[in-house]
């Protein structure tokens, strides 16, 4: 792999930029691998990357039904934060956030991590109490957050209307080291680094069956033929239930659509990420100038990658009180992704009933921010066969045992 640098840029400029090599190879699958990861989204690629980097396992294939990073990795609102209430969540999201800080250097690929700060508005007294509690919890967890006053909110984000008639801003939970990243670049950067380690990224290759023998996976049937493996990782987000079904076990997940949209590009007007969970909308400004807006999930099972139109209306209607200036903005694009929701709104990084098959799913509406931490924990689980401290609490048997990591109560919404 040729490294990207200012010197490489200068060198390639001399040949009119015709000499750049492809960022990753697109090989045909080999007959067998040490490990197969199903799903080349952010989480799958990060898992593969840390399998190689931290554990020295590089005979790995990453199999993708569509194209690399074309699922939820390319469909989110790119927000990165770790201000969670529960200890296991804070630990893995903070690990992820800290890995984002050095990801561009680590991967030699600019993922445009922008620690511009994330504020979660408190617009009811209940939320004030909730976020004060989260701020105290974060202090104990080593996550830097603070509860700030409405005056400070207005200083940080002048376009906010803090005196709305229905939902005035009473304060906010502020995480200065949170921010945004370039979502596609995260997938591309990991893919390039994985390919460089000798891993095979096989796109347009759908898994159609899982072959197992005596409680161990022996390989996967795909549209490009049978591929054998010694270990298998399922990292497929919305279709986790379908792949688990092929492997012969059930998951406590349901797939629903989550939408986001962007406005026409405007001049810079907002240099923080704002989440308003009571009215249920969140917004940031992309480097292109578009306002990136997200809201809530649809309330029914859906695999179509498009959501209900009225949810867009609800999200925008809610945000207009808090951001009066967006009332005349035209919205440019809208899209949906299929998210896999668990009963407690926390992810699953777990062993499965099949001894050498592992699953990473259930990230629901909060997957992008977790990509490096999730990959780190999943790689450790796959390499050692036992979960490390980051993944231990997220096993799939917690639902039976009643040990929930209840972020649905802690975060309420939009998490």
């Amino acid at each position: 792999m040729k490294r990207y640098s200012v010197f490489a840029l200068a060198r390639e400029a001399l040949s009119y930029h015709m000499g750049w090599e492809r960022a990753w190879r697109s090989p045909q699958p080999k007959a067998a691998y040490d490990a197969i990861i199903v799903g080349a989204g952010g989480h799958g690629l990060a898992t593969a990357y840390y399998l190689g980097k931290n554990h020295g396992i590089t005979n790995v294939a990453i199999i993708e039904k569509g194209w690399l990073g074309g699922g939820n990795t390319g469909r989110n609102t790119t927000i990165i934060r770790s201000n969670y209430l529960q200890d296991p969540s804070a630990a893995i999201y903070e690990k992820a956030r800290s890995l984002y800080e050095t990801m561009s250097q680590d991967l030699n690929y600019n993922v445009m991590f922008s620690p511009r700060g994330v504020m979660m508005l408190a617009q009811t007294h209940h939320e004030v109490r909730g976020y004060l509690r989260t701020a105290h919890a974060n202090a104990l967890q080593g996550v830097v957050t603070e509860f700030i006053s409405p005056t400070r909110v207005k200083e940080l984000c002048p376009i906010l209307n803090i005196d709305g008639p229905r939902y005035p801003v009473l304060g906010a939970l502020w995480q200065p080291r949170g921010g945004t990243g370039r979502h596609d670049a995260v997938a591309w950067g990991y893919a390039r680094a994985c390919s460089d380690m000798g891993m095979d990224i096989i796109q347009q290759c759908e898994v159609t069956g899982v072959r197992s023998e005596g409680g161990q996976v022996t390989g996967v049937e795909t549209t490009k033929g049978f591929i054998g493996c010694k270990k298998m990782g399922i990292v497929v987000a919305g279709h986790s239930g379908q792949v688990a079904d092929m492997a012969g076990f059930r998951l406590p997940v349901e797939a629903v659509a989550l939408q986001a949209l962007v406005s026409e590009p405007i001049k810079p007007c907002m240099d923080v990420v704002v989440m308003a969970n009571t009215v249920h909308g969140y917004m940031s400004q992309s480097d292109k100038g578009e306002m990136v807006i997200g809201g809530g999930t649809d309330g029914f099972n859906n695999f179509t990658q498009r959501g209900s139109f009225h949810h867009i209306e609800e999200t925008l209607r809610a945000l207009i009180e808090t951001f009066p200036m967006i009332s005349r903005l035209k919205m440019l694009r809208q899209w949906g992704g299929i998210v896999d929701m668990t009963g407690d709104r926390s992810p699953i990084i777990s062993k499965t009933p099949l001894g050498n098959c592992f699953i990473n799913c259930g990230w629901g509406t909060g997957g992008f921010k977790a990509i490096p931490g999730s990959g780190w924990a999943m790689a450790e689980l796959m390499a050692k066969g036992e979960p490390g401290p980051l993944a231990a609490e997220f096993n799939m048997w917690r639902f039976k045992e009643g040990r929930f990591i209840d972020e649905s109560v802690a975060a309420g919404v939009a998490h």
Binding site: H239, G241, Q242, R250, L251, P252, V253, E254, A255, D298, G299, F300, N301, N302, F303, T304, S308, F309, H310, T342, G343, F399, K400
Partner: protein, 106 residues
């Protein structure tokens, strides 16, 4: 927009009039059941990519719960029926089988 016909009042209700209630025909388990049965009742869901039976409430209409058969991969609605049913009506199953020959059945 998703449109479901309420089997009670006959109104073709738009999605904004309805409240979703997820999977239908769950078998209720409680005290005295095994841990596995209770976990399955609480958390295990079919979550099919295809034909799905689910609960809906005509929230801004007659207010009653009813059941619907819908395809989660295409959003096609096969039909609705009253909530006082232990399983989907036979004619609805026939209709779905005619449209989805690969469907494994309820």
């Amino acid at each position: 927009m998703l449109t479901l016909e309420c089997p009670y009042c006959g109104v073709k209700a738009e999605e904004t009039e309805l409240a979703p209630g997820y999977e239908a025909h769950l078998k209720r388990h409680g005290p005295g059941s095994t841990d596995e049965a209770f976990e399955a009742y609480m958390f295990a869901r079919k979550n099919p990519k295809g034909v799905h039976f689910e609960r809906w409430r005509h929230a801004y209409g007659c207010g009653k719960w009813f059941l619907a058969a819908r395809d989660t991969a295409t959003l096609e609605v096969f039909g609705t029926y009253p909530a006082q049913s232990s399983g989907p009506p036979a004619e609805l199953i026939e209709k779905i089988k005619a449209k989805r020959p690969d469907w494994k059945g309820f």
